[in-house]
């Protein structure tokens, strides 16, 4: 690199002429720079930014929790089995063929006694008993709260849902008069749904049950392929609700009751209806000595 500078006078002269009338900075330039270097908004703006950001994060978390399915919010460990009022209960067992011989077992002192007259007959427990607290074969995800400390979830909405489902599928509601115990004030209704995948009664009932928090008073849920059992208490209206569904002869018998809290309920009328549906004479009424 040469240290001396090139003269190139033509080029110098060309550039000198070309840039002779270089424009000056506009008069307002200094004012513009003043505004840029001294913005009117100062520190408090940043604080508001932080507040807005924190509020946004909380809002997103809130929406996320709200949108989370109820099943995911449920604790995985089963809760304490709800305490039920002592009541007259019975366990019904049935066979695959309803017209064949049935076995009736009376339950006393919370003991299940199962005697099968034939070895090859399969017996299936149909209705889970409510009474025994130490029955670990049932799937309980329930807890009882004596106070209405949770957001109120009206159990009657299950009945509304069932009524709508029945109406949609042209299934009529049957009224049941439970005479046991005498002077019973239990309100019962029964539906017979076809057992098919389109209606999927069990699945829909389970969905409805899962809409209720397991901390809802009296929450008691049990289900299997054969049966569905769900109980709730309405502490505001002082009512207790129970829904039982069972697969019987290609149909699903759905039975719902509600009664004032503490009312002793019997499954006798349900069993009557069930036997009637199956065209069998109830043998529950004549408990057999075993």
């Amino acid at each position: 690199m040469k240290n001396e500078r090139y003269k190139d006078t033509d080029l110098r002269e060309a550039l000198r002429r070309k840039y002779a009338d270089t424009p000056q900075l506009p008069a307002g330039f200094m004012n513009n720079m003043e505004r840029k270097t001294n913005p009117p908004m100062t520190r408090p703006v940043r604080r508001w930014w932080w507040v807005a950001a924190a509020a946004s994060v909380l809002l997103i978390i809130g929406i996320g929790v709200t949108m989370m399915p109820i099943e995911e919010r449920m604790p995985t460990a089963p809760k304490v089995v709800a305490k039920m009022e002592p009541q007259q209960t019975s366990v019904v067992t049935t066979q695959e063929e309803p017209r064949e011989e049935k076995i009736v077992i009376s339950q006393k002192n919370h003991q299940n006694k199962l005697h099968d007259s034939k070895q090859n007959q399969k017996t299936v427990p149909v209705i889970p008993t409510v009474e025994p607290e130490d029955d670990h074969h049932l799937h309980y995800a329930s807890a009882e709260l004596t106070k209405d400390t949770l957001p109120y979830q009206n159990p009657a909405r299950v009945d509304e849902f069932i009524a709508k489902m029945a109406a949609y599928n042209h299934v009529k509601q049957g009224e049941l008069e439970c005479t046991q115990p005498a002077g019973s004030n239990v309100v019962s209704s029964v539906y017979v749904f076809p057992d098919n995948k389109e209606i999927d009664v069990f699945g829909r009932l389970l969905q409805v049950a899962c809409c209720y928090s397991d901390e809802t008073p009296g929450y008691l849920l049990s289900f299997s392929h054969q049966q569905f059992f769900f109980e709730l208490k309405d502490m505001r209206q002082q009512l207790q609700y129970r829904w039982i569904a069972e697969r019987v002869n290609g149909k699903i018998l759905l039975y719902g009751t509600h009664a004032p809290l503490g009312t002793k309920e019997s499954s006798a009328c349900y069993q009557d209806y069930r036997d009637e549906l199956m065209h069998t004479k109830s043998i529950n009424k004549t408990p057999r000595e075993i």
Binding site: K18, L25, M30
Partner: protein, 188 residues
């Protein structure tokens, strides 16, 4: 005349004092603008780039090293980079195929100097037009070298290249102008 020295201005800007920024703007803004407007013909764009240059300087004043360059040269370096970025954003980069082989010194510096120092009026006018058609970096190089009389080392700092590379680029640019002049002579 301001009593603040260049060092005082830098210190004032570093400590966030408003008078430092005002002084820097008042002292260097026109110079920066004059440099930018040679590459960016639109005055509003040039003004905007001048503002950006000064704002960039305020925010990066800690990176200024007085041992490497004067404050003015450092500001010119920022201005040059911002201006090139602006030109790249607003016009496609065109690489002339005529540049191939331009680095070979088949014409001596003396011969080039003689051809570019004829003193003929039409040659000066031809060069005025040719400078407009040069790429931005070459135009800036000629401006800083011939018009502002800055040494190559300083121009190298402003343009962010090695001084040796810059000397080669200067030779290439001069040779390009010479060739164009010759071509025009032939067509006439």
């Amino acid at each position: 005349m301001s009593a603040l020295t260049e060092k005082d201005i830098v210190e004032a800007v570093r400590s966030g004092r408003h008078e430092g920024q005002t002084e820097m703007v008042g002292r260097y803004a026109q110079r920066i603008f004059a440099m930018i407007v040679k590459l960016v013909p639109d005055v509003m764009d040039a003004q905007e780039l001048t503002q950006d240059t000064l704002m960039r300087a305020f925010s990066h004043i800690d990176s200024y090293d007085s041992r490497r360059s004067s404050l003015s040269t450092w500001l010119c370096r920022i201005a040059y980079r911002l201006t090139l970025d602006f030109l790249k954003r607003n016009s496609p980069l065109i690489v002339s195929l005529d540049d191939a082989g331009m680095g070979q010194k088949d014409i001596s510096d003396e011969e080039l100097e003689a051809e570019l120092s004829t003193g003929r009026e039409e040659r000066i006018e031809q060069l005025m037009q040719m400078v407009d058609n040069l790429p931005a970096d070459e135009r800036m190089l000629l401006t800083l070298y011939y018009y502002e009389d800055r040494p190559l080392t300083e121009i190298a700092y402003i343009m962010g290249v090695e001084a040796g590379v810059l000397a080669n680029r200067l030779y290439r640019t001069r040779k390009k102008l010479y060739k164009k002049l010759k071509d025009e002579e032939r067509t006439i």
